[in-house]
Amino acid sequence: MSTGTTKLDVVVSDVVPVNELVTRFHFRRRDGQMLPTFSGGAHVVVEMRDGDRTRLNPYSLMGSPLDTREYTISVRRDDVGRGGSLFMHRSVKPGLEMVISYPVNLFSLDLRAKKHLMLAGGIGITPFMAQTAQLAGEGGNFELHYTCRTASLGTYADVLRERYDRRIRLYHDDRDERIDLDRLLSTQPLGTHLYVCGPAGMINWARDRAASLGWPSEAVHFEHFAAPQPGLPFDVTLAVSGKTIRVGEQQSLLEAIEAAGVDPPYLCRGGVCGQCETNVISYDGKFIHNDHWLSEEDHRSGCKIMPCVSRFEGRSLVLER
């Protein structure tokens, strides 16, 4: 069966600058119906028609799951990235018709938790916008620690403070404020679950500290905001479809495969869900595995690759696609 996600036809109903880097986009259904219900932490994949390229980028839904008249996402402009965020900032205007996927949740709340302890870094705040709204609606116990570079880049910090008051703690890098993580982690009530979303360094730090303080790994949840990294162009042969394609500098392997008319499965496009896993038939060169799905052993074996984020440098690569 096809594993592509189900699509929704939407129209951009509003575009709101939030600060110098972040812009918020609102979507409504073209047919005027309600959008599907979702759960806090879910993302949608937004299709961007940028000239003759189609970009597909995942963004967390940040509105309240209790209100599905519209979906909202926030996009941080990345001037050195591959261009998706720039396209959103420059070309997406109210009234534009777009296609997005149904919501997919790879960062869901563990509803058994007695308390939800959340750590956000930068634009990693977006999934927590929906999660806090969901928990607040059910009288759930949560506490959010949010670090950002400066107060003016504290996206939605004011909104969160106003909604939840002391359940929100803010930390500003330019004032040298830092989460006292060890103390925080060692003073939580039994049954607390930890959620982290932000830069890789922050996620690794939190996972590491939690592990050494004896937190069970089932109580630690995280979402990488990993966009595919650009790199040197390379050639790939797709054995099943019999095509040879070139992966451009700014393109991911998955995008190049899609551009060649092959329709591989995906859910996250960020190297975490496992959907796009592909067998390597032969290779001569070296993999740059950027995914968080395959094991170390898989990486070393050279038998598998996650085309949504991983790259290759070398003479030849043949994939089973």
């Binding site: 069966m1 594993t3 189900t6 879910a42 149904y102 869901s108 509803l111």
Partner: protein
């Protein structure tokens, strides 16, 4: 035109029957003359008119009788319905799904009206007309899962997804083929599948789990499973083995047609939107041999399937005792001609 609901029983005097139209819509599970265990999953999309797939949640002539039988089972054994505390939200998800689908498919029998969180649910076959607040358990006579699954045919397992696994953390299970919610509750996917033979190469289960954890909202999937039951008993739980187990020794060449039933389970898999859980509705269809063989193609094919079934599978499905009697009886209806491809009758 609405459905005419039958008055019938699944115990004691066993008056359960399928009408001729229902025989033709029976989900016969064998598309060829042999059966092999396989993870035969496909998208759960609407199928042909007049089939059990005409609607994604099927309601048929046995609805009222099945709901009465469920109430009897629950009265004797309330543990057939359980929901761990963190699964209440998933229960509301399921309530919404079942009310929406039943009202959509059978507007003459079910009506759902919503005014924000104020919902009104009318179930005419069962004489129910309730107004409640969505999300507020105190406004319903039972928890949301129990409330709606006392009004929906089939068993329901609600699974929580976490740590890359699925956990059987809630369910309404009164018509199961020899497994027990009370035993499986709180177990993960590998734990509750531990007893299945032949599928044991770990690969099958790892792949199945991967598929299920990736089930997406708006894209349900389904598969068919089958076994056989003596007498049209819905409740063949391990708890009641002493009641149905001995039935297997009562099959004689004279009563095969009346006693032996093919039991087909249509399992579907849905992602629940608010809780991010997964629900498996397991819908059970029963047909006695006398009814099944009114379709000559099915009679010929079932004969070949049962005759050639590997011994381990026959044992697993509990057919061993009466298989020779059944095969002998079916063989008289198999003229050796070729069966046409596909599931449907000719």
């Amino acid at each position: 035109m609405g459905i005419t609901f039958r008055k019938e029983t699944f115990r004691d005097d066993f008056t359960f029957r399928n009408s001729p139209e229902h025989i033709r819509r029976f989900p016969f599970p064998f598309h060829e003359d042999a059966y092999m265990y396989a993870v035969n999953i496909e998208p759960h999309v609407v199928g042909p008119k007049g089939s059990v797939l005409e609607n994604l949640i099927d309601v048929d002539e046995h609805y009222v009788a099945e709901m009465q039988d469920r109430a009897l089972v629950l009265a004797e054994d309330p543990l057939r319905c359980q929901s761990l505390p963190h699964m209440t939200l998933a229960g509301w998800d399921l309530l919404e799904l079942l009310m929406e689908q039943q009202a959509l498919g059978y507007p003459e029998h079910f009506t759902l009206t919503r005014d924000g969180d104020r919902w009104r649910w009318i179930n005419r076959p069962l004489g129910i007309d309730d107004t409640f607040t969505f999300g507020d358990t105190s406004t319903l006579p039972y928890g949301p899962m129990e409330y709606i699954t006392r009004q929906s045919q089939g068993d329901f397992c609600i699974l929580d997804q976490r740590d890359g696994n699925l956990w059987m953390d809630a369910g309404m299970v009164t018509t199961q083929a020899d497994w027990s919610l009370d035993f499986d509750i709180g177990m993960n996917f590998f734990e509750w599948h531990a007893p299945v033979p032949l599928a044991h190469e770990k690969g099958i289960f790892t792949r199945a789990l991967k598929f299920l954890t990736n089930i997406q909202q708006g894209k349900p999937a389904r598969r068919l499973n089958w076994t056989m039951t003596i007498n049209p008993r819905l409740d063949t739980s391990p708890e009641n083995y002493h009641k149905w187990g001995p039935d297997r020794t009562t099959v004689t060449p004279e009563n095969v047609g009346d006693k032996v039933h093919l039991r087909v389970e249509l399992q579907s898999f849905w992602r629940l939107p608010r809780s991010n859980g997964i629900v498996f509705p397991i819908r059970c269809y029963l047909i006695k041999m006398d009814e099944l063989v009114t379709q000559p193609k099915w009679a010929r094919r079932l004969h070949r399937v049962i005759r050639d079934l590997p011994e381990e599978l026959a044992t697993y499905k509990g057919l061993t005792r009466y298989r020779p009697t059944l095969v002998e009886w079916l063989s008289r209806l198999d003229d050796g001609s070729v069966t046409s491809p596909g599931f449907g009758p000719d």
